[in-house]
């Protein structure tokens, strides 16, 4: 029965397809294979989510080795939701990628690009599905190593240094995580997350576990680019090929946030980490700093890709803020923002990919008059931009509504004010682009850039449409995110 093996197929299909891409070599064939695989992966993820909604968590012992000795794949509400986010973004980005990749990556390397893209997808899906702390490290490194390569494929030479710096930071982060896992293993003798969760309360007060928690938190914070560990992110996003930025911005950091949630609420689920330690306060403080400083720095950027990268730092702040509340409302806001921000940022970076394809630049000064020359692309940028700000009827509003509610529930109104303030800063930087694109005349002379090809516009509008659709009717996403939050917090009242 194939349905029983869905959790394994989720990871194995893209993993097997990556070397196939290398064998195929022809760019068109590699792309076609990637397209097919990414949609199959999405189908599997949706089936898994439906299964989880119906029957509760799905477990799958790899190679039939029973947990906690063997590696176990475990899909619960949160995992399934993240799987769907990653797989959906992958499935939408692939059709977009064909024209953009042809334009930005040398022809003889295109098949390698798709192989790396599939490996990255494998790693990200693996992180979301595995129930084993060490296996998570392996998937983390698969996704990281392939994303360093993807970033290094950028046209400018600065892509290389950006990839190198990301590699150093990313490897430090992953090694920190490894130290944390080692210390947990020392105290409990298990690597299985569910097993760790049951054994943890007995040893939670030992210094070893506290140190482990610190290493895990710092390591993953490096990966998710939490302020002030975000320094690798702006350059990596700016100089990577457009497709890579769109994909990674929507998935890479989100999955890292998921790992953070896993650590706090599954592994340490029975311990109420946030009450014993300062960790909740520290995370909240950093999240707020990220929100404000990320948005503030974004205002001063002339490269729009870099501007959105800084905005990502701020948005990650929102997600971590949601996590740090450790209440159902807060966590729901954080988890739903994972999904919402993936939609928004992917669409925004796709719009920039279209712009780059046509005018060869993403500097704000070169975008004058684009509102009239590429109306469909810029309209998508504006709608997604509004969503980023959090205007009602868009998804951005839903997540911010929840975050503000969570802050008010606890009576921390200054935090609610800061969330609003950071949104106001977003108005400024999005407006800068809108002003140049719509209200400044196009430069004289030179060929007028045409609208982007349909194969790029359709995926972009699919995401933009989704970000409006889920903004108007958020019941479905909120049901899943709320369910996930309640499931995670069932240990703590």
């Amino acid at each position: 029965m194939i349905a029983a093996h869905l959790p394994a197929l989720q990871v194995v299909v893209p993993l097997m397809a990556a070397p196939l891409c290398v064998l195929l070599r022809r760019p068109a064939l590699a792309w076609a294979l990637t397209l097919a695989v990414s949609w199959v992966v999405l189908a599997i993820a949706v089936l898994l989510l439906l299964q989880v909604l119906e029957t509760g968590p799905v477990t799958y012992p790899l190679g039939n080795w029973a947990a906690p000795w063997g590696i176990e794949y475990r899909v619960d509400m949160v995992g399934a939701f993240v799987l769907v986010i990653v797989a959906a973004i992958g499935a939408v980005v692939t059709p977009f990628a064909r024209r953009s990749v042809e334009h930005e990556i040398p022809r003889d390397r295109i098949y390698l690009f798709y192989a790396m893209y599939l490996l990255c997808l494998t790693g990200l899906l693996g992180i979301a599905i595995t129930g084993d702390a060490f296996n998570l490290f392996v998937f983390l490194e698969i996704s990281s190593l392939s994303s360093y390569v993807l970033i290094g494929l950028g046209k400018e030479r600065r892509a290389l240094t950006a990839a190198y710096r990301y590699l150093i930071m990313g490897t430090l982060g992953a090694t920190f995580y490894l130290i944390g896992v080692a210390m947990m293993y020392m105290m409990t003798g298990t690597l299985n997350m569910a097993d760790l969760a049951t054994l943890m309360p007995a040893v939670a007060d030992t210094r070893t576990i506290l140190v482990a928690l610190a290493f895990l938190t710092v390591g993953i914070s490096l990966k998710l680019a939490l302020f002030p560990l975000h320094l690798w992110l702006p350059n990596a996003y700016t100089y990577a090929p457009s497709v890579v930025t769109a994909f990674l911005a929507a998935t890479g950091t989100k999955v890292a946030v998921y790992v953070l949630i896993r650590i706090f609420f599954t592994i340490f689920g029975g311990v109420e980490v946030f009450r014993i330690n300062l960790i909740g306060d520290v995370l909240m403080g950093l999240a707020i700093l990220a929100m404000v400083s990320g948005s503030a720095v974004a205002i001063y950027q002339n490269n729009v890709k870099r501007m959105l990268a800084y905005s990502s730092v701020a948005q990650i702040g929102y997600m971590v803020l949601g996590v740090s509340f450790a209440t159902v409302t807060g966590l729901t806001g954080g988890i739903v923002h994972l999904f919402n921000h993936a939609l928004i940022k992917c669409a925004l970076f796709m719009a920039l990919g279209c712009v780059f394809l046509r005018i060869g630049s993403v500097n704000i000064g070169d975008m004058a008059g684009l509102g009239r020359r590429m109306p469909v692309t810029m309209a998508s940028f504006v709608v997604s931009g509004l969503s980023l700000i959090g205007v009602p009827l868009t998804v951005g509003f839903v997540s911010k509504w929840y975050l503000i509610q969570a802050a008010l529930e606890k009576g921390w109104w200054p935090i609610a004010v800061l969330v609003l303030f950071s949104s106001l800063l977003a108005v400024i930087y999005i407006w800068r682009v809108v002003e140049v694109a719509y209200f400044r005349p196009a430069p004289e002379g030179g060929p007028a850039p045409a609208e982007a090809p349909l194969s790029m516009l359709v995926p972009m509008w699919l995401l933009t449409g989704a970000s409006v659709y889920f903004g108007i009717d958020a019941t479905r996403t909120l049901e899943v995110a709320g369910g996930a939050a309640a499931f995670l917090l069932k240990g703590t009242p």
Binding site: E141, L145, L160, Y164, I168, T171, T175, L178, I179
Partner: protein, 117 residues
């Protein structure tokens, strides 16, 4: 606990700090990779040390042997070594490309060139 006691762990800590310091303090991109390697190796030593059981032998079932060392961390570290080798290879490949593009592998000189551009 007599000296040297748990000296493996002291070595781990020293190696870890040495590696970490090199990564942070050196401008040479190759040296950074070396530092990163030392840092990773310290964690490997950590894993291997914690698996050792006093008086235990290799985990091969044999008559008359009661205590065995824990083989699992060793296996984990084999995996981690593979990951570390791949990371190093990728980092060195990037350094080669950086050297071709910038003509230097000193971080401060690269930054100087980036600021000019």
């Amino acid at each position: 606990m007599e000296f040297p006691g748990l000296y493996n762990y002291w070595i781990t800590i020293v190696l870890m700090m040495v590696g970490f310091y090199i990564v942070i303090a050196h401008d040479n991109l190759i040296k950074k990779v070396v530092g990163l390697n030392i840092f990773q190796v310290s964690v490997f030593v950590f894993y291997i040390s914690m698996a050792k059981v006093q008086g235990g032998t290799a985990p091969i079932l044999d008559a008359g042997i009661e205590t065995y060392s824990n083989p699992l961390p060793h296996v984990l570290i084999l995996t981690a070594i593979v990951v570390a080798v791949a990371t190093t290879a990728l980092a060195l490949a990037l350094v080669v490309r950086i050297r071709n593009a910038y003509g230097t592998i000193e971080d401060d000189e690269i930054e100087g060139q980036e600021d000019d551009a």
